[in-house]
């Protein structure tokens, strides 16, 4: 299960504390549920008592010994009345059952409202909190693990709250309220009735505790089966390509057999548990029946009282038998709760003090000075970078992978906090500005952009809520994706993702670009945003962007020269440092990466000449 759960001594207290906190607002429901359960239990016990009183007053020669029964007979109008009006106790029994049913309904209703309400609240809280956690946390955390904590762990908690807690309260209430009633009826019989109750509970608790790990083993074996099938299906082509079907069959047979055998082993152990615990329960019932019969023959017990005891045990014993098992299940819920608590206790993104939200939109000036940032490893991802972008200018950033380009973008978005140096945004230090405000001044397109499982139109609209359809289409046209979208089965209403169309990398990038363009923020960040788009389309898009040049500050990370050459200035990064910086004209005459890139087109020409013996220039790249 969890590999992160803490093991300090007060860790058992923490889940209970957390649970108490989570229950706030729902405690009243629980109170009502338990009250309803209590009334239900009492009425449940009252029904056999009515039967018992009836039997004793109608068919018994001697008056019943038990004061409780005598009292009851008196309430019901006396033995004489009951004897002559047998429909009355019958109706009373039905009425009591109806009433019990009503309280059982109330119990179910309130318990569900409490447990489902808490589950909903926990889910909402987890979702909210996950969104507020810093990017640093998410870098470390495993998505699959987090999802499991937010879904199956919450479900485990819900089950615990809705059934296990109720079941255990039920069994406890049954036991507690049975004691006085039974002793009032007949002390000897009461003692006999409780002989095996302790062993029944303990047997369940310890037996299930012992075989608990087998449940996990079965799950694990099932997981292996799933893995082999999954691997086989994803590698289908490889299997066929080498005609390895028989080999795969053998590979599958093993976990399939293991799964079966483990299930059978667990089953055998459980069959012993269920049969023996049935045996104990039945022995308890037999003990009461036969010793009761004996007491009757001795004249010290009435048939009615025996009837009541048998009915009581019927009501009592089966929930009590379940209790041992339920208690072990509760252990699981504590683990689940701890795992959720770990997420909720992580600190959220920090908020700068004071006035951190400037009035009005930014102008878009960015000045980076001696910036240093490290993800925690030895070599800093960014190691003393300085540059300035004036409002409306385009800055291109060039460099090999791992040189710190994307990290720089993340720092600008305040996804991470830089360690030293400064980033001035419109003459204010970025660190002193509200993260959300900063982000609302930027539009970003990442290399592998994320689209939500909504329609394409909605995805673009995320750039600016309330944008008109015309504006969305305009943005899509600018990003050169409008015609593609038109070709989809439902136009702009086509769903993206599993349930709709699967977009190619280039299409995703263009949709994300449209989303970013719609945003109309002072700064646009393009993080290798057109890498999957073919050269011609890229040229069209850049052409369109250039027409808007001057409107907003733009930072472009790119690999292709064609992209870079549109920039006012170019910064070349390597190992987190700026190694070259200047305008296109300046860099072309400097020895270095930029110049070498620039001369590639000559190399292209030479290569082509070599193959064709032709002199004409091809595919020129020009500004």
């Amino acid at each position: 299960m969890s590999n992160r759960s803490t093991s300090d001594p007060d860790s058992t207290l923490q889940p209970i504390k957390l649970l108490w906190k989570l229950m706030s607002g729902f405690r009243a429901y629980y109170g009502r549920a338990i009250f309803a359960l209590f009334v239900f239990t009492l009425i449940n016990y009252a029904t056999p008592l009515v039967g018992s009183a009836t039997l004793d007053s109608a068919f018994s020669k001697s008056a019943p010994e038990s004061p409780l029964t005598r009292q009851l007979i008196a309430w019901m109008g006396g033995a004489e009345f009951i004897r002559n009006h047998l429909w009355f106790p019958a109706l009373l029994m039905i009425g009591l059952t109806l009433l019990a049913g009503f309280f059982s309904f109330l119990k179910g209703r309130f318990a569900a409202m409490a447990s489902d309400g808490i589950a909903r609240k926990v889910k909402d809280q987890l979702y909210d909190h996950l969104q507020r956690l810093p990017a640093k946390y998410h870098d470390r955390a495993e998505t699959g693990d987090l999802i499991q904590r937010c879904t199956s762990d919450v479900e485990t908690l819900r089950m615990a709250l809705s059934s296990q807690v109720v079941d255990i309260s039920n069994a406890l209430l049954l036991l507690i309220s049975a004691v006085p009633i039974m002793f009032l009826l007949d002390a000897r019989m009461a003692l006999i009735s409780f002989t095996l109750v302790g062993p029944i509970i303990l047997y369940g608790y310890f037996y299930i505790g012992r075989v608990k790990h087998l449940f996990l083993e079965v799950d694990e074996a099932e997981g292996q089966v799933t893995r082999v099938v999954q691997e086989n299906l994803t590698g289908l082509r490889v299997v066929r390509a080498f005609a390895r079907q028989e080999f795969e069959m053998k590979k599958f047979a093993e976990p399939n057999k293991l799964y079966r055998d483990r299930s059978l082993r667990l089953l055998r152990l459980m069959s012993w548990y269920w049969s023996t615990s049935d045996l104990i329960v039945l022995a308890q019932q037999g003990l009461v029946l036969l010793s009761g019969a004996w007491f009757i023959s001795q004249g010290s017990l009435t048939v009615g009282t025996l009837f009541a005891f048998i009915m009581f045990l019927n009501i009592l014993l089966w929930p009590v038998r379940q209790m041992g098992r339920t208690l072990t299940d509760l252990g699981k819920s504590a683990v689940a709760l701890t795992r959720m608590g770990e997420i909720l206790s992580e600190p959220e993104e920090s908020k700068p003090p004071g006035n951190c939200v400037p009035d009005g939109p930014a102008k878009g000036r960015i000045e980076v000075k001696d910036l240093v940032f490290s993800h925690g490893e030895e070599t800093a991802a960014i190691n003393g970078i300085s540059f300035t972008v004036e409002p409306g200018q385009t800055l291109a950033i060039l460099g090999p992978s791992g040189s710190g380009k994307s990290t720089l973008m993340h720092l600008l978005l305040r996804l991470y906090d830089y360690q030293s140096g400064s980033i001035q945004f419109d003459d204010r230090e970025l660190k002193d500005l509200d993260r959300q405000w900063v982000r609302s001044q930027f539009s970003v397109v990442m290399q592998e952009p994320f689209l939500y499982s909504k329609t394409i139109g909605e995805n673009i609209r995320l750039g600016r809520e309330g944008a008109a359809n015309e504006e969305i289409q305009e943005a899509a046209r600018l990003a050169d994706i409008h015609d593609t979208i038109r070709g989809f089965p439902s136009d702009y209403s086509t769903l993206v993702g599993e349930r709709g169309v699967t977009l190619s990398g280039g299409q995703r990038q263009r949709v994300a670009l449209a989303r970013a363009l719609l945003r109309e923020t002072p700064v646009l960040l393009l993080d290798d945003a057109l890498s999957a788009v073919d050269a011609e389309t890229e040229a069209t898009i850049l052409q369109a962007l250039r027409q808007r040049h001057g409107k907003r500050t733009t930072l472009v990370i790119a690999h292709r020269l064609s992209t870079l050459s549109h920039a006012d200035r170019v910064v070349v990064l390597e190992h987190g440092k700026v190694i070259q910086q200047g305008t296109h004209e300046e860099l072309v005459v400097q020895e270095g990466l930029y110049r070498r890139l620039w001369t590639i087109q000559n190399a292209v020409k030479a290569e082509v000449e070599l193959s064709t013996g032709d002199q004409s220039p091809i595919h020129p790249i020009s500004r």
Binding site: G108, L130, R260, L413, P449, S453
Partner: protein, 618 residues
């Protein structure tokens, strides 16, 4: 979520034929069916007998002077042990049956999946197929084993109690039994409601899981769009809908239980009233009355079980149909009867060495596409009237825009699909007249997304030829220049590659898959975009090994990289299922057509990329 939508089918009618077919899978375990049936009946009889023992005990003490309780004690003890043994037997036989059945069905399904042609998988996502093999198989087996047991037990119990009641007191018996029909109807209605609403809950649950996954995957995007609030609002919409259906489900059972309890109590009330009158008039004993009251409350459980099993069968019918239809699907690409006949004749030891398992020559000298038509979906042809001849030793490079049909040609050459028109010939003979197994054993394929199986590197290479020695495995790795990186790893060839090979980089995985293909020593070698997703350095390594691979085989190469393309004997520019240009590199460059344009563009991009990479590495 696609899967969920399919689970939602609820059949209104019980298809007994279908269940009969499912039940056939239980027949190998006939020996378990007998104890299963016996234990169900024994348990039902025991359950019904306890009230009789109570009656007996009461009647043997009430108004008697001579009391002998030993006979009831003995009978009670006997019943208790019989019941316990019955419970033990039924759990073991039903569980044994269910687990063995699901094991077998799963194995059959898996086997069938190995035989089915690719087209079957095109429209069935992996996740969907996995659920068929796991949850569907378990569900069916559980219903057959536990369901039939419950049904048998419940029906027996109800019948036995009914008989006892009528024998004890016909009039009162019939009166008490009158609550059974409404009990059946109400149980059936509620069980169905409960099944549907719990399904609804599961559906929302998987939507919530998807929402969490989306939140985590899109975290940076949401943060940069400052979408946190709207996201939360959307999520809250979802979680409150789930709350709604979950509460609905809870309410249904909260109403259901009191209703059936009240019905039981009405029966008990009738017994008490009418029976009480009879006891007073001396027509019935007190013990009988007590027994009647007990029996009145005992109907609920078995009838509830019957309703639940029937409803579950209705709910699982869709699963049954899916599994059975998978088992009933015949592979679209398989050996013809003529080929099968030849296989039985020739696939045996002592066959001349130059003959293959189907009795034809064991060699591949030429492959011809003869007016081949093909379409993945009817009405959308990818190839029409495609012709191509390749002979041994030749390397064919296929280039052109994506969606033009390059991969289709390769898939047809591998017989992963079959032409919808025209023929493919091997040595001038129709491919369909040769053994599929023989032909595909002659293939070596390297794909764009290299797929490795979990296990060691050695095991993965050996997948190419299972009987290869360690030396041969390593020799293959050396030929494709994979040996260097493998030896540099901590455990060398014994390094575990992780699930799907995820512990290796894409380039490393690709090198391993090249070694695997080479070890198979195939007569036909196919590379589908195999070098497009790897870095320049690995590409260089592979490039040096490719010559060795291409030598003496028929090779089909779908490629982006210029280096790979240039070495081909023939380059085909494919667009819209047709050959636009054909020739070697030099011819096509001079022609200055499509190839020329493609080449120059790619040249530029590759050079830029490698220049930036060089900077990174030094």
């Amino acid at each position: 979520m696609k899967e969920e939508a399919q689970e939602d089918v609820f059949s209104d009618r019980l298809d007994l034929k279908l269940w009969g077919r499912v039940f056939r899978h239980a027949l190998p375990y006939r020996r378990l069916l007998i104890p299963l049936a016996i234990s169900a009946v024994v348990i039902a009889l025991c359950d019904a007998s306890f009230a009789l023992v109570t009656r007996w005990s009461v009647d043997s003490v009430v108004g008697k002077t001579e009391v002998n309780l030993w006979p009831p004690i003995a009978v009670y003890t006997g019943l208790t042990f019989m019941l316990a043994i019955g419970v033990w037997t039924f759990i073991n036989s039903a569980g044994g049956l269910s687990n063995n059945m699901s094991h077998d069905i799963r194995e059959e399904c898996f086997k069938r999946l190995q035989e089915l042609e690719f087209a079957y998988f095109d429209h069935r996502p992996t996740g969907w197929l996995i659920s068929r093999l796991t949850s569907d198989c378990d569900k069916l087996a559980r219903i057959i084993a536990w369901g039939s047991l419950d049904l048998l037990w419940a029906v027996c119990l109800v019948v036995v109690i009914a008989v006892i009641l009528i024998v004890l007191h016909p009039v009162l018996g019939l009166l008490v039994l009158s609550v059974v029909p409404p009990l059946v109807v109400i149980s059936a209605i509620f069980q169905k409601k409960l099944l549907l609403s719990s399904r609804e809950t599961r559906k929302y649950n998987s939507m919530i899981t998807a929402a969490f996954a989306e939140a985590l995957q899109g975290l940076r995007t949401s943060k940069s769009l400052v979408r946190e609030k709207q996201n939360l609002q959307e999520f809250q919409g979802l979680s409150s809908q789930m709350y709604g259906v979950s509460i609905q489900n809870a309410m249904q059972s909260a109403v259901y239980i009191p209703i059936v309890l009240t019905l039981g109590s009405i029966a008990a009330g009738i017994a008490l009233w009418r029976g009480g009158v009879d006891v007073r008039s001396g027509g019935m004993s007190v013990g009988t009355l007590v027994a009647f009251i007990f029996y009145a409350g005992q109907f609920f459980n078995p009838i509830n079980q019957i309703a639940q099993v029937l409803v579950n069968m209705q709910g699982a019918q869709a699963a049954g149909e899916r599994v059975l239809s998978l088992l009933a699907t015949t592979p679209g690409i398989s050996d013809s009867d003529a080929v099968k006949a030849r296989l039985t004749e020739w696939n045996r030891p002592g066959r001349p060495a130059e003959l293959a398992i189907d009795g034809y020559p064991d060699k591949i000298e030429a492959i011809d596409f003869d007016h081949v038509d093909f379409a993945y979906t009817t009405g959308e042809p990818v190839l029409s009237g495609f012709n191509l001849t390749v002979s041994s030793g030749q390397t064919i490079a296929l280039v052109g825009a994506s969606g033009g049909g390059k991969s289709t040609i390769v898939n047809l050459a591998a017989r992963f699909y079959e032409p919808t028109g025209g023929r493919i010939l091997v040595n001038g003979q129709d491919l369909r007249d040769r053994s599929l197994d023989w032909y595909q054993s002659n293939l070596g394929i390297v794909l764009q997304g290299p797929h490795l199986f979990s296990g060691t590197i050695r095991e993965n290479i050996r997948y190419g030829r299972l009987e290869a020695t360690d030396e041969e495995v390593e020799a293959a790795a050396r030929s494709v220049n994979a040996d260097g990186f493998i030896r540099a790893m901590e455990n060398g060839y014994e390094t575990d590659v992780g699930e799907g090979g995820n512990r290796l980089s894409t380039g490393q995985k690709q090198l391993v898959s090249f070694a695997r293909a080479l070890l198979a020593n195939p007569r036909i070698f196919i590379m589908d975009e195999a070098t497009s997703s790897i870095d320049t350095e690995t590409e260089q390594l592979i490039q040096n090994g490719l010559k060795a691979i291409f030598h003496g085989r028929i090779s089909f190469v779908v490629a982006h990289r210029l280096s790979t393309i240039r070495t081909a004997d023939r380059i085909l520019v494919i667009e819209k299922g047709r050959i636009l240009e054909s020739g070697n590199h030099d011819d096509l460059m001079v022609a200055k057509g499509h190839y020329y344009l493609l080449y120059t563009r790619q040249f530029e991009a590759e050079n830029e990329a490698s220049l930036i990479d060089t900077l990174a590495n030094g």
